[in-house]
Chain length 249, copies 2
């Protein structure tokens, strides 16, 4: 059975998709067969891997996921693409629909050959994110070191705790990841201190620096590890990958 990681945060633009893609590429380079699942109607994870969104979301169809899996520019990394079709988003997001169970079933049956499954979530605490949390082993929360960051995090943690005691007893925290970190800004330091004081152990040692190479790589459909192998962004995502692998074993 694969280890399923859900990359989630209600706050927008904090680096969820960027972390999903670059962590997945790092895991694949470390020899782990990895799948990225795009649960965001924006389909940024799909296009960031150089692929196009599907007409119909694979999780809404009857067929097994195996038929929809795509290869990527990174060996050992596959993609379950997303869909922008509103009908599918509404179907998947409808809280009491049986699509909820289908997601869990689909993911449990069709992903056995993977070592890791990473699920990229939309910026919301609605049903799509809740379903992704319900079928994950761990949740990784990227946050920016900015004022609004702390606000949403506490609400997010409450929701995760509810799911941990309710729908998914196996769910645990992979960690909180500081992204777009700029050590020259006082604001960054202040928020980092707050987050480490408040959340302690569950904050990753690794921080991801703000680095334009990271923002450029999705336009080439590759990870920053391939786009700019000697960049600070690459070094940080490799470090994160090592930290995730150490925590998992």
């Amino acid at each position: 059975m694969p280890k399923t990681l859900c990359i989630a945060n209600q706050k927008g633009g904090v680096g969820k998709t960027t972390t999903t893609l670059n962590l997945a590429a790092g895991l694949a380079k470390a020899g782990k067969v990895t799948l990225v699942v795009d649960m965001d109607p924006q389909c940024n994870a799909t296009t960031g891997l150089g692929r196009r969104p599907l007409e119909q979301h694979p999780l809404v169809g009857e067929e097994s996921l195996r038929h929809s899996l795509l290869t990527t520019n990174q060996e050992g990394l596959m993609l379950l693409p997303g869909s922008r079709r509103f009908r599918d988003v509404e179907l998947l997001a409808h809280a009491d629909s049986d699509y909820a169970n289908r997601l869990i079933e689909h993911l449990n049956h069709d992903t056995a050959k993977f070592d890791f499954v990473l699920i990229d979530c939309p910026p919301s605490l609605g049903s799509l994110t809740q379903k992704a949390l319900a079928c994950s082993d761990e949740v990784l929360m990227p946050i920016q070191c900015e004022y609004f960051a702390m606000e949403g995090l506490k609400q997010m943690i409450e929701l995760i705790r509810e799911i941990m005691v309710g729908q998914n007893q196996k769910l645990s925290f992979a960690g909180i990841l500081l992204t777009m970190y700029d050590p020259t800004l006082e604001l960054t330091k202040e928020v980092e201190d707050d987050v480490r004081d408040f959340f302690g152990e569950i904050v990753f040692e690794t921080v991801i620096p703000r680095d334009v190479a990271v923002a450029e790589s999705p336009s080439f459909g590759i990870s920053v590890l391939d786009h700019a192998p000697r960049s600070r962004g690459t070094r940080a995502y490799i470090e994160l990958c090592m930290e995730v692998l150490t925590n998992v074993s």
Copy 2:
């Protein structure tokens, strides 16, 4: 009747809340009585103005909005705070609920004394944003000059055109606003050229530079115009305010 502006973009973290707060402060300083409506369950517009979210969302209750309006640290600027309560978010977001019409009724009846109403939207194209679009005169779309920016914009424009011919014939484009603009990055220049080539006239002349003073101001509950009056961020938001006032008249 006030002019109602909806600040929307499905992409997260592009500066929707920041633009709502600083444009509203600029309009108030220019002598226009202005109301900010917080439609985002994250309630960043509420806390960014130094206020706390309500237990129950004012749009869900029976009472007139007048009872829930709050003053802010800026004279001439009032706030209709948001709520983080899931029940309310689900109620407001349920596509076919009565609450859709209630929003339009509430806004039409209780805001007559304002010159401008600015609605801050969540990072989604779901019902909350669609309802806000349905009761607005104009829509302002902040975007970052980054690769994923263009992806979501086309889908957003399609949705807006649908609402323009369907539910709300009075809706028009206020404009596309480039935010967190960093002229030293090639990526910024490339995306700006793409956006101006593709969308032409509807892109504001004014661009908002990346400026840490802008990110600091919400932690004091004031706009960047008060937090750092001589900053580049302040100058840009005052310029934007002039451009919006010129376009409106």
